[in-house]
Symmetry: C2
Subunit: 227 residues, 2 copies
């Protein structure tokens, strides 16, 4: 890999390696050489999981651990990582063996995602956690900014319904307990009732939907605990 | 939680919190309060996975990603974490609700392991990655020092055999290709042959066993790729 291509990738990832051998290893698929990137991928995967967990934890103080975990899974799944890799043109730099070249391996999502994780591992080994954090933050900035904590809460009703269906239980009934305040700033209290499981929970919110979600979330956790 | 108990735990974990509220939350089980430790546990789990991955990567440059992953799983599994938590007497500090107190929740491996992970998350939030790294290194020092990379390599032959048995394939035959050098520094080249799968790989090493393991490891990966 010549210096020009190395410099070109450095510009793309906004990071210049102190030791370019880390970068070269990160770009090397096992079909190309025994000095391939799979150990770096293992390392990069764990660095990425940690950095995303930390970012989500700090950004969303009110999201519970289950939702944090689902959000992270969403962000670091293969298709997300390969989309980021594609957007930075990483495929052009991957070193592949002949067979993989012929079958256009540089376009395969698994290879793109693995190489992206390897790059993360390589930056971490080369520069430590701080530049890795900066790289990951840049890569995921848009996706992190697009997360709407309100939409995550929406999952609670769906989750509860799925859980109850899987247990062949009756579905929850949501009742309005009270609506207080003026028209422009009402507070809803909603009860979620699952008859068969003898569960009654309440949620409070500025809209009926939010209150239902909170009640559903509580019921969901009670259900899980009783299983 | 009074200052004396806080100081006592600080001595045990060799870390004094700048903000003791992190420590208190880390010790709080969901049965005790809504301000419980499950978000911290999510964070601590990912910090721990990352730190152990990084430690294993650096300590064992010749162990492949599959074995690194298995080693990590071994180190961070619930029973390992609860053993560490027990050895530091963490159970005495966990804040449990009445029900959990009655059923001796402070001795339950899952609660001990979760609290241990929460403490890791709390140290990370309070002090950053460096003190967390030091804490984790201290906790896992003995276990990390006990890992024998030679024993891990032994797995390749076993893994290959198990894989072949699961596929109802014939078992591999190991043949000596060559033995070179003087008696005190011989180099063995061993071939691993799996007839039915038409796989032939070679391993080289200073003992027959090492060469066989290498040949087995290569055959194992070829088998996996062809599946």
């Amino acid at each position: 890999m010549d210096k020009e291509r190395q410099a070109s990738l450095s510009r793309i990832i906004h990071y210049t390696f102190n030791d370019p051998s880390f970068m070269i290893m990160a770009l090397t698929h096992r079909s190309f050489s025994a000095q391939h990137n799979e150990r770096l991928e293992f390392l990069g995967d764990s660095v990425l999981s940690f950095l995303i967990a930390s970012e989500l934890y700090k950004r969303f103080p009110r999201i519970d651990e289950g939702d944090l975990s689902r959000l992270r899974a969403q962000l670091v799944k293969e298709s997300s990582l390969s989309a980021i890799a594609t957007s930075m043109g990483l495929g052009d730099f991957i070193r592949l063996g002949e067979g993989e070249l012929k079958s256009a391996g540089w376009r395969r999502p698994s290879i793109l995602a693995d190489t992206f994780e390897s790059i993360i591992g390589a930056i971490y080994l080369d520069g430590g956690i701080e530049p890795t954090h900066q790289f990951v933050s840049r890569c995921f900035e848009t996706q992190l900014n697009e997360i709407d904590p309100k939409l995550i809460q929406k999952d609670a009703k769906t989750l509860l319904q799925e859980l109850l269906q899987s247990k062949k239980s009756d579905l929850p009934i949501y009742n309005v307990v009270s609506i207080e305040g003026e028209a422009h700033s009402q507070t809803f209290t909603i009860e979620c009732h699952i008859k068969k499981s003898n569960i009654k929970t309440q949620g409070v919110g500025n809209s009926r939907r939010i209150a239902e979600q909170e009640a559903a979330s509580k019921a969901y956790h009670l259900m899980l605990e009783s299983m």
